[in-house]
Subunit: 339 residues, 2 copies
Amino acid sequence: MSTFSAQKIELDHGSGGAASHQLITKLFLPMFDNPFLRQMDDSAQLTIGNSRIAFSTDTFVVSPIFFPGGNIGDLAIHGTVNDIAMSGARPLYLSVGMIIEEGFSMDSLNIILQSMKKAAQIANVQIVTGDTKVMPSNKLDGIAINTAGIGIIESDCQISANRAQAGDKILLSGTIADHGITILTHRDNLMIKGNIQSDTAPLNDLVLKLIAACKDIHVLRDPTRGGITSVLNEIAHQSGVEIEIQEDAVPIKPQVSACCELLGLDPFSIANEGKLIAIVPESSVEKALSVMHKHPLATHAAVIGSVVSDTNSVVYVKTPIGGKRFLHLPVGDQMPRIC
Amino acid sequence: MSTFSAQKIELDHGSGGAASHQLITKLFLPMFDNPFLRQMDDSAQLTIGNSRIAFSTDTFVVSPIFFPGGNIGDLAIHGTVNDIAMSGARPLYLSVGMIIEEGFSMDSLNIILQSMKKAAQIANVQIVTGDTKVMPSNKLDGIAINTAGIGIIESDCQISANRAQAGDKILLSGTIADHGITILTHRDNLMIKGNIQSDTAPLNDLVLKLIAACKDIHVLRDPTRGGITSVLNEIAHQSGVEIEIQEDAVPIKPQVSACCELLGLDPFSIANEGKLIAIVPESSVEKALSVMHKHPLATHAAVIGSVVSDTNSVVYVKTPIGGKRFLHLPVGDQMPRIC
């Protein structure tokens, strides 16, 4: 019997926060239980023949579908490419499952498909299979795109959210909250102007260069829904470790920080779509940072904290004035349909 | 530049008929062009390491979500299992991407998940990765489920819709139109009663037994959206062959046939979710039929026609009174949201 007690699905169940976590761990996981799913990584790591592969899926329902820095099309390619890359795999093949509302503009569809094509070319993946369904008008808001993908793990790396250990350092590849704040400020006519754009980007090239330079990466995760707060909490929980983050070490653009203050939002819980967190032994920090700083997608990479003990599953932030606050998994998202 | 001229997406673009075919061949295919996609089979056949694999995706938006014989959950498992099986592969791993409307009943979700669990167990596949998004109420009608899946091709079979050739026989595993007519009669309070239920079922076990018994199967396809009309036309087109079907050899339940007459629908164009068409050399017909007749999902299997020449890409039906009518790809579906 399920121990999940909600009566109805709520928006928070799709947020990447505590409500999502509950839905997954109390309903989906016990239902479909198997060792691959139990791993709880961004992609399942499987063995087929003599190959280690990574398999992942993600559905995109972002609103608005067009936003500064990208659209639902390239976002859908990057999202699955990145989930596959986070297990150290080279993404190879994608499937695309579209649901489109009757009456959807063919011009918009064309722009979305062009973006998918370009994103797939840049990420060096091929779209090899697909499916399209059409919903009658008013039964779906515009378009939803699912991508699933397969990658091959070519090195002997063992990367998983359960491998963080005391002494490890936590690296972040760049500024936080760019994607989420872009979406929020372009929705519902909030009329906030500023030079802000989504960071949506494929991280597979960066990951392969990181793996080539340092063989002992313990964890890779991309902090999408729920931001770095959700990802750090998931890692702390899955590895059973205590994580300390230096607040002033976390890169954030001044205009994004200003928007968060204005809207009363915590940037640590806001989605990113082109950033990764890498957890590595202290001895590998220099090599990893050097690779990141040379890569166009990680020029602002920084060490933002460390794994301080193996006894507790918590995340806390040290503030510049010496304070310490716990970073709890947010219950829901600060807004739905971020990705 | 795309040669696809529609201004807006219409319901017919999701039907599996001529409008779908146009959307795929004139927009999606040229956009994402590669040899895997060009194959136009139900799944992409790929090589990873020393393994031949099949990779497929399908999204399910069926309305109503619960119907006699199944629900959207087991339908979503069977759909992708079957698409993978049609390349001769053994399905192994599935991903599940759900979009759920805010306010959706948790009891309904539980029933759907239980059905998915049971269907996966029966088909001997594991759900290894997933994603859940929630849409605000009224932005999606209930629930949509995408499944993608990976299978392994263990024999040296070469099964593809482009391999039909003159002299081949066309086998159908059982009665047609059961799924589509079930959905139609349970929608919009049509109030048609009768002992009709969906044929939704996993065909992978039947396929593996067929392959074990006859190594030279040329084509396997499951006639879902657009029915046997769409699938036979696709095969005729992809193989460049002329197909002749004996109308009275096609199995159909009397109550399904009666419904089709009442509603003015052509059962040849109605969706099936647990049937397959196998095209084999005449020398293999006896072995293939014998395997089918011993299998619980194919007790009504029959030879329904043959490939009569390699010079033309057409499908026609011979009627019992000696007439001959061409079976053209329907423009759209006879109703949307069948699967």
